[in-house]
């Protein structure tokens, strides 16, 4: 009974709370703000005590991205791609390059092309392509986003590709904690061609423009200019899948919970005050609902994931 009274005091307009839910009083709202700040301080403090507790990409694993990609291909009547460790190392190197140089694009600001990562790792390709994604909380949402984009979908469902490599990197990109997924597609030079040579040549001429638009890029292998393949020495990325708490996801979930509860309490308050015709001094409930509604929309959309 006491608990029910306490809950009513906190969440429902009542005599005990001066006809306004205690959580909607300035003191209640500021307590929630204090809770959010405390949680952020805890997230900043935790890694110092338990270094392996926090991680950005707890739910993204390269093998899962490969599995989902192949699932989409099989569903569309194509052969699955073979996971290639050299391509994966090249994709990881591309991801680390983006973090190191602070860019989010297919081409680096210094002119480094995606294809240079293929050749640097000794992957002699007949066809090559790249899909990029960032800030997705799990593998399936990233693959779904690619499938919903015509150009990225074209890459995933391209019958010319035989192999795939995935690199997942975590770190700060221009000051923002980020998880980047690099998906490299390729067909080794020695693989049997699946399309007529004439058609392949025609497509290859469109390569530079196609890349910028994330359209599957078909390039002839630069045999004459290729340097001997170096031993792949990818920078070891953070171990993915071992983190227990994702700082961004947990912050997002806490924010969603607080705003969700407040919107519910405000809606109940609006109904009860109207029905009982309660006169009181206070802010406009409808205005607060609009404000928190905007915050809710931002939480749901902000950094929900981006692909290029």
């Amino acid at each position: 009974m006491k608990i029910l009274k306490l809950l009513a005091h906190i969440f429902v307009p009542h005599e005990s709370n001066n006809q306004k839910a205690k959580i909607l009083h300035p003191s209640g709202i500021l307590t929630l703000a204090f809770l959010v700040v405390s949680f952020q301080l805890l997230l900043n403090f935790l890694p110092k005590v338990f270094p392996r507790v926090l991680g950005y990409a707890a739910n993204i694993s390269p093998s899962e991205v490969v599995r989902l990609t192949n699932e989409k291909r099989v569903q569309n009547g194509l052969l699955p791609l073979a996971e290639n460790s050299v391509l994966s190392s090249a994709a990881l190197a591309k991801g680390n390059d983006m973090l190191a140089k602070g860019y989010w694009a297919h081409f680096a600001p210094d002119g480094t092309t995606p294809w240079s990562f293929f050749t640097n790792f000794g992957y002699r390709y007949r066809y090559a392509g790249e899909n990029l994604a960032r800030d997705f909380s799990n593998s399936s949402s990233a693959v779904d986003a690619w499938m919903n984009s015509a150009t990225h979908r074209e890459n995933i469902l391209n019958g010319n590709y035989k192999e795939v490599g995935i690199g997942v990197v975590e770190g700060s990109l221009a000051g923002v904690d980020t998880t980047i997924i690099v998906q490299f597609f390729g067909t080794p030079q020695n693989a049997a061609a699946t399309i007529p040579v004439a058609q392949a040549k025609e497509t290859a001429t469109k390569a530079p423009l196609a890349l910028a638009l994330s359209i599957p890029t078909l390039s002839p292998s630069p045999v004459s200019t290729m340097t001997p393949a170096p031993t792949p020495t990818p920078t070891p990325g953070p171990e993915v899948g071992t983190a227990f708490v994702s700082p961004f996801s947990s912050t997002k979930n806490l924010s969603l919970a607080i705003v969700g509860i407040l919107l519910l309490v405000l809606s109940v308050d609006l109904i009860i005050v109207r029905r009982k015709r309660i006169a009181r001094i206070g802010g406009r409930t409808l205005a607060h609902i609009a404000f928190f509604g905007m915050i809710l929309a931002v939480i749901l959309i902000l950094k929900a994931g981006e692909i290029i």
Binding site: P26, L32, S255, A290
Partner: protein
């Protein structure tokens, strides 16, 4: 509803502020500095809207002001926790 209709011009301006804030935060989703400014501007505009609205309706009190301020602070803290994380 009658109350809402009476305050319609006020609410339209409030929705304008919130939509502008939302658009700014989403369109510049990878410009942290600009997002921070937009978040502060939106929260401050909300408090100012509350002051003007209640002043015009002659029911502006310290409790009302502190309520808008608390709501704006909570909104700002939540936005900062996401933008700066």
């Amino acid at each position: 509803m009658r109350n809402f209709a009476r305050h319609l011009p006020h609410y339209l301006s409030l929705f304008g502020i919130l939509i502008a804030g939302f658009a700014g935060l989403i369109l510049f989703s990878y410009d942290k500095g600009f997002q921070t400014v937009v978040a502060i501007a939106t929260a401050a505009s909300y408090v100012v809207w509350g002051i003007v609205h209640h002043y015009l309706h002659r029911d502006l009190h310290l409790e009302v002001f502190s309520e808008y301020l608390a709501v704006a602070v909570l909104g700002l803290v939540i936005l900062f926790s996401l933008i700066l994380r």
